[in-house]
């Protein structure tokens, strides 16, 4: 075939192919070339998906592989406690759920008007109160026995930190409570979760006795003390004043703070180290970004030495010594001499 003829024929073939493409646009004919529409289309899809926002959180029961009875049983086994089903279910049912269900049932029409659609489940208020009381008493008692030199205010502050809503909800959700708690709100709020957790403690107390419940609290709540410093749990507003009071009560000289080290004092990244001396003996030292911060931290350090709370006095989590001291520790006022109580902020 001559070159001209071949070119003409191929041109015609291309024309018909093109018209074929134009006519049957709905049929995607694969063509090996760069498709200009792909990138803008994907960009647009991506932008539209971002505008829609994240997928809403759904309860685990909305997926097909869900069996509430099995989940509840597994929770009891996972935690290592032999609880009766009834108590456990009560512990996991929030009052808001019971009220919501009753509300729903009021709206329903019954065959006989006299019959009441009552809900045969109880909520966890009682168990929660029982568990909370046990938890607080045990945590405080354990802290008092481990740190006999810690003032009662400190014990209270640490107990508040450990048994607060946030902490108990965190522990509960990491034990799998989030999926099995029955509540009206979703996502389940922290207060509901912490209530369920304390109700579980109460359930253990009811079914297996106080000692098992205390062991439970020891294993899950007290272990959260690992790696925590005293000042992250208990904020003392005037540590220097408190230190002065304690030192006066013990009959030592007034504490003097001295600058041990300073570097780069005219720069933004200045560092200072302050030491607190009593009778020329060093009782506490710490560093800081400014002299006042360093002094504050040094006073905290000295107080920790007095309260015996630090690396040396770490809690040993051996379950053999679950000693609980019901007697309150000395209060701050008892630590401090009478004339110094006014300096406390």
């Amino acid at each position: 075939m001559s070159l001209v003829l071949r070119n003409v024929l191929s041109f015609c073939a291309r024309r018909t192919a093109l018209s074929g493409r134009l006519i049957a646009q709905r049929q995607a004919i694969p063509v090996r070339c760069y498709k200009k529409w792909v990138l803008p289309a994907y960009r647009s899809l991506y932008k539209r998906r971002l505008e829609q926002g994240p997928e809403p959180e759904r309860h685990r029961s909305e997926w097909l592989n869900w069996n509430y009875n099995a989940e509840v049983y597994a929770f009891g086994q996972r935690v290592g406690e032999d609880l009766s089903e009834a108590t456990l279910r009560t512990a996991l049912t929030d009052r808001s759920y019971v009220e919501a269900e009753n509300e729903k049932r009021k709206g329903l029409e019954t065959e006989e008007e006299d019959e009441e659609l009552s809900l045969d489940i109880s909520h966890n208020e009682e168990l929660s109160a029982l568990g909370e009381k046990l938890c607080n008493n045990f945590v405080k008692g354990y802290l008092r026995s481990t740190y006999p030199n810690l003032p009662e205010e400190g014990v209270g502050a640490i107990c508040d930190f450990l048994t607060g809503d946030e902490m108990l909800a965190y522990i509960g959700s990491h034990l799998g409570l989030k999926d099995i708690v029955l509540a009206s709100e979703f996502p389940v709020p922290d207060s509901t979760l912490s209530k369920a957790f304390t109700a579980v403690i109460g359930a253990i107390d009811t079914d297996q006795g106080t000692e098992r419940a205390q062991l439970f609290v020891h294993d899950f709540v007290l272990t959260q003390l690992i790696g925590k410093t005293l000042d992250s749990m208990w904020t003392i507003s005037n540590p220097m004043g408190l230190l002065a009071g304690i030192v006066a009560k013990q009959g030592m000289a007034e504490p003097e703070s001295r600058l041990l080290w300073e570097t780069g004092s005219e720069t933004v990244v200045a560092a200072y180290m302050v030491g607190i001396y009593c009778n020329k003996q060093l009782i506490g030292k710490a560093a800081g970004e400014t002299v006042s911060i360093a002094e504050h931290m040094a006073a905290q350090n000295a107080l920790q030495q007095f309260f015996n709370f630090g690396n040396d006095a770490a809690i040993h989590f051996d379950r053999h010594s679950l000693t609980v001291n019901a007697e309150r520790n000395a209060s701050i006022e008892d630590f401090v001499s009478q004339d110094k109580t006014q300096t406390l902020a």
Binding site: T263, E266, M273
Partner: protein, 185 residues
């Protein structure tokens, strides 16, 4: 929480060191100064973590070069343009800028990686004792000198000169270096 924060602040605190360069050799001093600038003197050193300290060098105009090096050592410079190459003897460079000799020596001794610029930024050179107040206030420690500062004869007291051991005494009429006869007899 705050305890950990201030502890970290203290561990990574930057020190300010002082070094007196009077009668010191720049080739000998540079490695010692660089060791402090890099942070190699710290047990927490890591090349990727910026733990270097500041070094303030004073009396750089009184720096000492070995032997004939003031005359023979050259500093090279190229302006970047053709024919822009120049080599200047160190004594001339030192006249123009008394800090340049030590600066150049430290710059060339430091490894030529991206850490060099911040290291050089932490080096503060002063030709004499006049250091600004705010920099003096920052200083925490002093780096020991590497060479003994020699004592001139006029820096010895008369007592020290008298007490210095002698093997023998010159005769009273001894004239050292009488010089050449100027008058032809």
């Amino acid at each position: 929480m705050a305890q950990h924060r201030v502890q970290q602040w203290a561990t990574f605190a930057r020190m300010w060191w002082l070094y007196d360069a009077r009668w010191q050799c720049p080739f000998q001093s540079a490695p010692v100064i660089i060791r402090h600038l890099q942070g190699l003197h710290k047990p927490i050193y890591h090349p990727l973590s910026d733990v270097g300290d500041h070094v303030v060098v004073i009396n750089t105009e009184h720096i000492a070069m070995e032997g004939d090096l003031w005359r023979n050592w050259r500093h090279f410079h190229h302006t970047g343009y053709p024919g822009g190459f120049s080599a200047t003897r160190v004594w001339k460079v030192h006249e123009a800028d008394p800090t340049k000799v030590l600066h150049k020596q430290i710059y060339s001794t430091v490894k030529g990686n991206l850490l060099r610029r911040p290291i050089m930024a932490r080096l503060h050179l002063y030709p004499d004792d006049n250091v600004p107040e705010d920099i003096l206030k920052n200083i925490t420690g002093q780096i020991r000198q590497l060479r003994e500062v020699p004592k001139r004869l006029d820096e010895y007291t008369q007592d020290e000169r008298d007490a210095f051991p002698r093997l023998f005494e010159w005769p009273a009429d001894y004239v050292p270096n009488p010089g050449k006869k100027t008058v032809k007899s």
